[in-house]
């Protein structure tokens, strides 16, 4: 049991336990903060796989951007007159049954397949290689993503705009 395995199990436990809290708690603020822990756990798993740039981008974009956006959404769409915000659930038993079977089948397929696995090779630092690939092999995707982000920015700003009342 090397130190790599111990750290992997630690991050996997953080990720899965906080994902379970996200989907099971009634208080939506608790679930937003457990989502924060899940993102940190996934970022740790990326770092264990040698994706250092991706781990930092995950923290910056998901925790620092998307989670804050989700919290804004929670605060702006619930009437916060009392302290706790509770949400309801529906179809719990069929969902647990169906998704339990689905997850079990998927795990069985995943573990019984003979993946063509090489030994884990951790490259030195990935930032320079990612930058190179973005501008040589994947330049079309890069440009399209830039245009898509522009469209998303304009679209989101114009959808959520406050209407001025005509007098």
């Amino acid at each position: 049991m090397s130190i790599y395995d111990i750290i992997f199990y630690l991050f996997a436990a953080i990720t899965i336990v906080s994902a379970a809290i996200v989907v099971n708690t009634k208080n939506i603020i608790h679930s937003a903060f457990s989502l924060l822990l899940t993102f940190f756990g996934v970022s740790g798993l990326y770092a264990l796989l040698g994706a250092d740039f991706l781990a930092i981008v995950q923290i910056m974009v998901y925790v620092g951007g998307i989670l804050i956006l989700l919290l804004f959404g929670v605060m702006l769409t619930n009437k916060i007159t009392n302290v706790d915000i509770k949400t309801g659930v529906l179809n719990v038993i069929p969902a647990i049954l169906g998704l339990g079977i689905f997850g079990a089948i998927l795990i069985f397929i995943v573990t019984s397949t003979n993946w063509h696995v090489e030994k884990l090779v951790i490259p030195k630092t990935t930032t320079k290689m990612l930058g190179n690939l973005l501008l040589t092999d994947y330049v079309l995707v890069f440009e399209l993503l830039a245009i898509l982000l522009l469209i998303a920015l304009i679209g989101a700003a114009s959808i959520a705009r406050r209407e001025k009342k005509e007098i």
Binding site: V22, V61, G100, T126, L149, A156, A160
Partner: protein, 102 residues
């Protein structure tokens, strides 16, 4: 036991199932968005795991980067729509938003 590809895939499968459970079960629209983010993270973990273990160079990490970018754009627009829905219905429970504009 030595940590291999299967361990990462099991974590990714569990995250995916939890995300799908959140989408199916929860009533609040923001909770559904959190479920979508969990599923996207699970798929990303899959990409990066295969990229490291399968001798694909660094392409898997690049695809995961693209997925993160798209998830950010989609979360922004989805939340703008949810805010608009709240303005119209004063309620974001997805089973009470059931009439189109009259």
């Amino acid at each position: 036991m030595e940590v291999g590809l299967n361990h990462f895939l099991i974590v990714s499968t569990a995250l995916f199932s939890f995300g799908l459970y959140a989408i199916v079960t929860r009533k609040n629209a923001i909770m559904v968005l959190m479920g979508v983010e969990l599923m996207l993270n699970a798929a990303n973990l899959n990409f990066v795991a295969f990229s490291s273990f399968g001798n694909f160079g660094i392409n898997g990490q690049l695809y995961a980067l693209f997925v993160i970018i798209l998830a950010a754009a989609e979360a922004a627009i989805a939340l703008a729509i949810v805010l608009n829905v709240y303005k119209t219905f004063t309620n974001v429970n997805i089973d009470e938003i059931n009439n189109l504009k009259d």
